[in-house]
């Protein structure tokens, strides 16, 4: 068990560094066990440095930096143990335009093994999607799916 955990931990730490570099364009990460002598119960510490800045305590990160760091960790886990589909509900809400672009670019790399269902209000993310489902309430309080756009013809079909 210890063996298995340590192997997975090391693999996640490696992928986390790679994905953090992709999302931030630089910087460094470190995943550490709080108590390496007690592998099966120890907590996990996360340290990151955003490019250009000094070592930061996770608390000091900005809203957007936190969202990208959490995304890098999630995707690192996905690399080590892929999941057939992933649902992400408005994780792009704190991101500025440039980071929305990086976010959708990096997700694209994962689409060979994983389907993504992305809930968003962000135009940049919508443009990066292959299919767009619109949800609306034509009758009060009742949800209805109204339109499907396929990437090849960019015009939404029947958004009426």
């Amino acid at each position: 068990c210890t063996e298995k955990f340590l192997t997975a931990f090391a693999a996640i730490a490696h992928e986390f560094q790679d994905l953090f570099l992709r999302l931030f364009g630089g910087g460094a990460t470190e995943l550490k066990l709080d108590d390496p002598t007690n592998v099966l119960e120890s907590g996990i510490e996360i340290n990151v440095t955003v490019p250009g800045k000094r070592n930061q305590n996770l608390l000091q990160l900005s809203g957007g930096e936190r969202a990208l760091t959490a995304l890098a960790l999630l995707l690192a886990m996905l690399r080590v143990k892929p999941s057939p589909f992933v649902v992400l509900d408005e994780i792009d809400a704190p991101l500025d335009e440039a980071n929305v672009g990086r976010y959708s670019e990096v997700l694209r790399d994962f689409t060979r093994d994983t389907q993504f269902l992305i809930i968003t209000h962000n135009k940049g993310t919508m443009e990066a999607a292959d299919v767009l489902y619109g949800v609306t309430m034509e009758k009060a309080g009742v949800s209805k799916i109204v339109s499907v756009r396929l990437a090849d013809h960019r015009e939404p079909v029947g958004t009426g």
Binding site: T7, A67, F85, T111, M126, D130, Y133, V135, K144
Partner: protein
């Protein structure tokens, strides 16, 4: 294995039978505030066997049943079907397509089915064990939850890493 279809009927704001087909790649779900987008994500979490009502923004198990609106009466049942393509045999069953169904009635009674055969919740959990789907926390990130990965205490983060191991 991939997600082929999701059907909702009576689940939260989906008072009418609603069918969503999925293909490979990135599917974006968009719409005004309160229209029902996060309810779709809740429906997936629920049909895969989630029992913690708090993760479904609910207080009790029957809160997921459509409770009426100005134009429609409340319903007596909520039902969700999720269909997965299993041609690659990733799920421990011989079927090339697997549909999991969950129902809850106003009485509080629940039903689970795999390919229309009634099963227990345990069987649904066993079906998805170690496949990367289901209750595991890094495949369904609810609204506002992404930050929780960083802000939990270092002991809580462990559980996330253990699911990968």
């Amino acid at each position: 294995m991939y997600l082929k279809r999701l059907e909702l009927y009576g689940f939260k704001t989906f008072a009418e039978r609603t069918d969503l087909e999925f293909g490979p790649g990135i599917v974006a779900i968009v719409g005004p505030n309160g229209s029902g987008k996060s309810n779709i994500s809740d429906a997936i979490l629920w049909v895969l066997g989630e029992t913690a009502m708090k993760s479904l923004r609910s207080a009790k198990s029957t809160d997921v049943i459509f409770n009426g609106s100005d134009v429609r009466k409340a319903l007596g049942m909520a039902e969700v079907h999720i269909t997965l393509d299993n041609a690659d045999g990733a799920l421990p069953t011989d079927y090339t397509e697997v549909t999991v169904t969950r129902r809850v009635f106003r009485s509080g009674e629940s039903e689970y089915l795999i390919n229309r055969v009634p099963v227990r919740l345990r069987d649904v959990h066993d079906l998805f064990m170690d496949t990367g789907i289901g209750k595991q926390s890094y495949s369904i990130i609810s609204q506002g939850e992404v930050d929780a990965i960083l802000s939990t205490r270092s002991e809580d983060r462990r559980a996330l890493f253990e699911e990968v191991a």
